[in-house]
Symmetry: C2
Subunit: 349 residues, 2 copies
């Protein structure tokens, strides 16, 4: 009686009134139990070859798609990684994230992408959502205006890796660029070219990478016996348009300088545009050095001298480190990977 009652109900399920086929649907068709199906589809050894084949065939015919959500709920592994960055539309992050995604794909992970637009509130919200979705780990370029969320992550022992930025006050896994050296290389290069008054177009100083580049700039001046002139350090943006406007403004102010070291290539390109408009020749009137070595530096006029950051590699190493941390989650060992930036001399200096 009971069987007679349940069969039609189950069959209606097997008839797939619902969207996705489940193990149960297959089990009913194959006349076996759910977990036989489970084991068959996972290609376990302890199962009859005949039934396995039959089950697999039915699964295919029905278009079975395993429900990873359910799997994750049991296994406590989502095979998903959260990626929290400032802005995917910038060439820097888009290249980096490509490396992240490629690496993730190789290792069987998916990435959930979140933009913060350099707003701590958004970062906090992103981290929360990602934890709710039970990502196995996070890759974060922190906004650094606050750090509560990062501390939280540490306390909860969630695997995460900071990318491209780091905190002095918090020990974390991270992969960072030696930006002091980068800033130093860029500035020293200009000094060696004979420049004495070098304008530094700066990024937002809450980012460690921005103030480190500035620190490198200062150190180069110091080491070469040049005085640091505060008026020569300007800007607080990552937008090309802003750099363009700022440079125009600075030119109109009549500030004297013979070279520019910009926080990023994007800013450098914006500045160069302003220089062009002012009919200043590059590098004859003003030399320019950027940072990042984005693709377009090679085709700018003139091609831009810059400090190369291997962004794709940065992303790839970051994901590799993160996955390593996820796998041996027990270990409390923190790891930092340091990437050396490299001066690329082209025709703008």
């Amino acid at each position: 009686m009971c069987a007679i009652l349940t069969i039609p109900i189950s069959l209606s399920k097997a008839g797939m009134s619902h969207v996705h086929v489940t193990l149960k649907d297959i089990a009913i068709r194959a006349g076996v139990s759910v977990n036989t199906v489970s084991r068959a589809l996972r290609n376990r050894l302890d199962i009859n070859d005949e039934t396995k084949k039959r089950i697999i065939e039915i699964a295919e015919r029905l278009g079975y798609t395993p429900n990873v959500l359910a799997k994750s709920l049991r296994s406590k592994k989502s095979k998903t990684i959260g990626v929290v960055i400032a802005d995917i539309s910038s060439p820097f992050y888009s290249n980096m994230v490509k490396g992240v995604e490629d690496g993730a794909q190789e290792k069987g992970y998916s990435i959930i992408l979140c933009n913060t637009d350099e707003q701590y509130k958004k970062e906090e919200a992103a981290v929360r959502v990602l934890l709710e979705k039970r990502v196995d780990g996070l890759l974060i370029t922190p906004v650094q205006e606050e750090n509560k969320d990062i501390l939280d992550l540490k306390e909860k022992r969630i695997p995460f890796v900071l990318v491209g930025r780091h905190f002095d006050v918090i020990q974390t896994n991270c992969i960072v660029v030696e930006d002091v050296i980068g800033g130093f290389l860029a500035t020293e290069h200009l000094i060696k070219k004979g420049h004495r008054r070098i304008l530094h177009i700066n990024g937002p100083l809450h980012m460690s990478c921005a103030w480190e580049r500035l620190a490198g700039y200062k150190r180069a001046l110091l080491e070469h016996g040049l005085e640091y002139d505060q008026r020569l350090v300007r800007g607080n943006t990552t937008e090309m348009e802003e750099a363009y406007k700022l440079t125009k403004k600075i030119l109109s102010e009549g500030l004297s300088f013979t070279a520019i070291f910009a926080f990023s290539d994007v800013l450098a390109l914006g500045a160069m545009h302003a220089l062009h408009e002012a009919k200043l020749r590059i590098p004859d009137d003003v030399a320019v050095v950027g940072y990042d070595d984005i693709e377009f530096t090679r085709v700018s006029c003139p091609p831009l001298t810059t400090v190369r950051i291997p962004r794709y590699l940065l992303g790839k190493k970051a994901i590799n480190l993160l996955v390593e941390k996820i796998i041996k989650k027990g270990s409390r060992k923190l790891q930092q990977i340091i990437i050396k930036p490299e001066l690329v001399i082209r025709e703008s200096s």
Copy 2:
């Protein structure tokens, strides 16, 4: 007896030997049932204000993070969307995806990002993984070398929207650019400037957008009584470097042309670099028109005439359409949004 037996076990759980706090942990601390906690935290009405407060407070103290995986398993909604694109590192997609992510965030969705690198196999794998993760819908820029996965999606009634490319043989929700018109506008503009021999640097023709731009090119020639010369259509790439090499090669071949219409700005910029190297003046010796209007066209030398695609908006409209389709999933109505491209005349033509 039974109670005495179960309490210590539960307390060990409430002691949080496990990573994440659950409703059960909170329930035990609060001395209520799991579902009272559930209702309290979801701010339901049918619950005592006192206990609600107490529960919320305990939840916060314990650092409760709801398990959305479990929620999704029940609700059959993951609040996650799969985004399948060619390559996030390209300016086109990175801008588009920014729009997608912003829109998704607004509507409470997360996005899982997958790159195909224009390989159908990867697209297929990406779609499979996304379905396994039970995304609520997909945004896809299909590789178009095959279409089985797309047909599959249709058959399974999974909500999806194609972006920027579309199939002639499959009716789908999609958001596309009128690329024939875009190609026409670019070419006609050059013709009106007096050009007769216009080189078209083409993208991979499996993409509908590439052959449509070419179709626009042809139509413009036709309408203006110019003959179509097959030798003037070259290229099959989306890489700047390739366009650069190709242009160099074409120049060395001695093919005569006075203008270039490139499939994308990236290709145009590569071509311009080759022209510069060959000491050809732009636009005097060779005029150049690109496509997309990426950020850097404004600062190239000279600033690039191009056909603007509102990429951010494209992404945003795509996600909005998709979310709409997800919400009223019953409806079989297919919707296509058409975006008009716009000629932006700068100094390269």
